[in-house]
């Protein structure tokens, strides 16, 4: 039995005018870390709210731990841990008061499930008398995770837990999630940071309520349908602008310290493509140009998959 299953879930708002989730189906395996990856407005939060029984879907069925999200909502509410996108703890209560409150909400205590939260709680302990509103972004997320874990849920829903958090805290947070996964907890997590997909077992890339692609991160990268090259040269701003006018390329954008240029796979060899681009840029007066084939990252995949959506 899969801990999370969605079948043809559709959700609209404002009497059908706004389509938030568009016929989405997927299922998550036992003790898997499954990532919903996509920008704001992709429909991630609606999916979370449907699975946590907070919203009713317009169409389709979904179940969590074998229970139907509409009919058996009460049973689901006792079994899952949920961390909404916004920081949703009481800012005027201290760290310890928040934890105690959420523990009693689930009829348990900090002591009873201390093993599960120990790793995270030791980092919070020095600040246990501090009001939650006065914690840093990273600490708030850790506290929220503790509160979501306090009743030992079998499924954990984390809606953009790392948004607005600095890179180091984000990394630590993912390490914690991996340890939880090892203890058998199934995790559905969403993020807008493309570089975080490496932490997930499987991911679904989402945009405008639809799943663009779903697989392991490696397989998604392997299924990249274009040829990608890395371009380096002087005067990056101008170089990018000029490269964008090269009509043979299907995409060109800044990526890290270099520029990524993508081409359709149409039988041309790498050398031909490189020479073509080089010639074009040299005719524009660029000299020290370096072009090499490169392996795409998830962001490149996302951009390739959403190409039709790009304006301008």
């Amino acid at each position: 039995m899969n801990p999370i299953t969605l079948q043809n879930i559709t959700k609209t708002y404002e009497k059908g005018k706004v389509l938030a989730v568009d016929d989405v189906s997927f299922s998550v395996n036992d003790s898997e870390m499954f990532g919903l990856i996509g920008p704001d407005g992709a429909g991630k939060t609606s999916i979370f709210r449907i699975l946590t029984t907070l919203l009713l879907p317009d169409k389709g069925t979904a179940s969590v731990c074998g229970k139907d999200v509409v009919k058996d909502y009460k049973a689901i509410r006792g079994m899952v841990g949920y961390m909404p996108g916004r920081f949703s703890l009481y800012q005027d209560l201290s760290v310890e008061e928040n934890l105690n409150f959420f523990a009693s909400l689930f009829n348990t205590s900090i002591k009873q499930n201390y093993e599960l939260i120990k790793d995270i709680y030791v980092q919070l302990e020095p600040f246990k008398d501090r009001r939650a509103g006065k914690l840093s972004g990273g600490m708030k997320q850790k506290l929220a995770l503790c509160c979501a874990l306090i009743h030992k849920p079998s499924v954990l829903f984390l809606d953009e837990p790392t948004t607005g958090v600095d890179a180091v805290s984000r990394f630590e947070f993912w390490e914690m999630l991996k340890r939880l996964k090892k203890q058998g907890i199934t995790i559905l997590v969403s993020t807008a940071y493309m570089d975080e997909v490496e932490h997930c077992d499987r991911i679904a890339l989402m945009q405008n309520g639809k799943i663009l692609s779903m697989d392991t991160p490696d397989k998604i990268i392997k299924s990249y349908s274009e040829k990608l090259f890395e371009l380096k040269g002087d005067n990056k701003h101008k170089l990018l602008k000029d490269t964008m006018t090269y009509s043979d390329a299907v995409g060109s954008y800044a990526s890290g310290e270099s520029i990524h240029v993508s081409f359709k796979k149409n039988g041309k060899s790498d050398a031909d493509i490189i020479n073509g681009l080089k010639g074009f840029l040299e005719s524009k007066g660029y000299q020290h140009i370096e072009i090499v084939p490169t392996v795409p990252n998830i962001e490149d995949c996302f951009l390739s998959l959403t190409k039709t959506e790009i304006h301008g």
Partner: protein, 368 residues
């Protein structure tokens, strides 16, 4: 049960840690009572009165002298006949008149008893009551003085006549009105804002995705405000008895019981507002609109309902504060028991049950 207690504890933390809501909860009622109190005493000092002295004898002269010595009264003309007095009242400048009968001294000396008449302009009933009380107390002082001087028990009977508003209907005292308004405001405003705050902060989302019964969430939110409201009621009563010298005549237990019904009514209304609004700001505005205005205008507290147009008189019946105002006035000021107010109590209880049912039905166990 432990869950429930923890929840209530959390609600108390919220209340106690927010200086603004604390000020709102306890500052507003105290300020209202104190301000009203001062406004009243200021008005009463140096009030213009006239005296109709039909006796013109030794005793009446002495009584007039005592009245002149009091800081409350500004004795204007001494008239010889009642027509002059009527004319003086009509100018509106005179608040009270004292009529001393013929043979005042003679009656006192020989019968040891005499009558005087106090006539007050009750178009402002608060002032009329207070002035009449002051006048009565000056006269009884005078009577005691005579007794000590002469060693004989004299008694002066005062006969009061209230002009223009004989039953003092309207607002014999503002304290019951303040009680009604403060209780309603706190209950409606605080409940609606505290629930909507959880919506706005996103904490309601987490609460809903827990096995905790959503209705217990609501009830645990009500408990702290019931406690706070009862504390407030006590503060108001203490202030009005000790600071404003208001006599408390009724049964205290009955008063608290009736107030509790009204408090639950207010909390239900607050809950109803919270289910219909999404931001603290709208919740606050709606609460003000639904509590302050009707309570001030239609409960009979500031404006007598009898004098209103038919439409407003009918409308006033659906204002819970109107019924509570009648109840609390009867208990506090007239000392009446449940026998006399069971109808009002029943109506108020009915309204409470209605609001509670509607708001609980309206409360969503999911997000919209």
């Amino acid at each position: 049960m432990k869950q429930f207690i923890n929840f209530i504890k959390k609600e108390f933390y919220h209340v106690l840690r927010d200086p603004k809501s604390l000020l709102m909860l306890f500052g507003v009622p105290i300020a209202q009572i104190v301000l009203f109190g001062f406004a009243l005493t200021n008005e009463i000092k140096n009030s213009n009165i006239v005296i109709v002295d039909n006796a013109m004898d030794n005793a009446s002269q002495k009584l007039i002298y005592e009245i002149r010595a009091s800081k409350y009264f500004n004795v204007g003309q001494i008239f010889m006949n009642p027509d002059q007095m009527d004319a003086a009242f009509k100018t509106g400048k005179v608040k009270l008149a004292l009529v001393i009968p013929k043979d005042f001294d003679n009656d006192l000396q020989h019968l040891h008893t005499a009558q005087v008449q106090i006539i007050a302009d009750a178009s402002d009933p608060n002032t009329a009551t207070t002035l009449t009380n002051y006048m009565t107390s000056i006269i009884s002082d005078y009577q005691n003085q005579l007794w000590q001087d002469g060693g004989l028990p004299y008694s002066i009977l005062t006969q009061q006549r209230i002009l223009y508003n004989p039953e003092l209907a309207g607002a014999p005292n503002f304290v019951p009105g303040v009680v009604a308004m403060v209780l309603l405001l706190i209950c409606v405003l605080m409940t609606s804002v505290s629930i909507v705050r959880e919506k706005e902060m996103g904490t309601l989302e987490v609460l809903l995705v827990s096995p905790f019964n959503p209705f217990l969430v609501i009830f645990s939110k009500m408990v702290p405000y019931i406690v706070v409201s009862l504390i407030n009621l006590t503060i108001i009563l203490i202030l009005s008895v000790y600071l404003l010298d208001l006599p408390f005549k009724g049964n205290l237990l009955l008063l608290y019981g009736e107030s509790s019904i009204f408090i639950v009514c207010g909390l239900s209304l607050g809950l109803l507002i919270s289910t219909l609004t999404d931001t603290q700001q709208t919740a606050m505005n709606t609460s003000f609109l639904l509590t302050m205005l009707p309570t001030m205008l239609l409960s009979g507290y500031l404006f007598p309902i009898e004098n209103m147009p038919l439409f407003l008189r009918i409308l006033s019946n659906i204002i819970p504060a109107k019924w509570f105002y009648i109840i609390i006035k009867s208990v506090m000021l007239k000392g009446l028991g449940i026998k006399y107010i069971w109808r009002e109590t029943l109506i108020l209880s009915g309204m409470t049950v209605f609001f509670l049912t509607v708001s609980l039905r309206n409360f969503k166990i999911r997000l919209q």
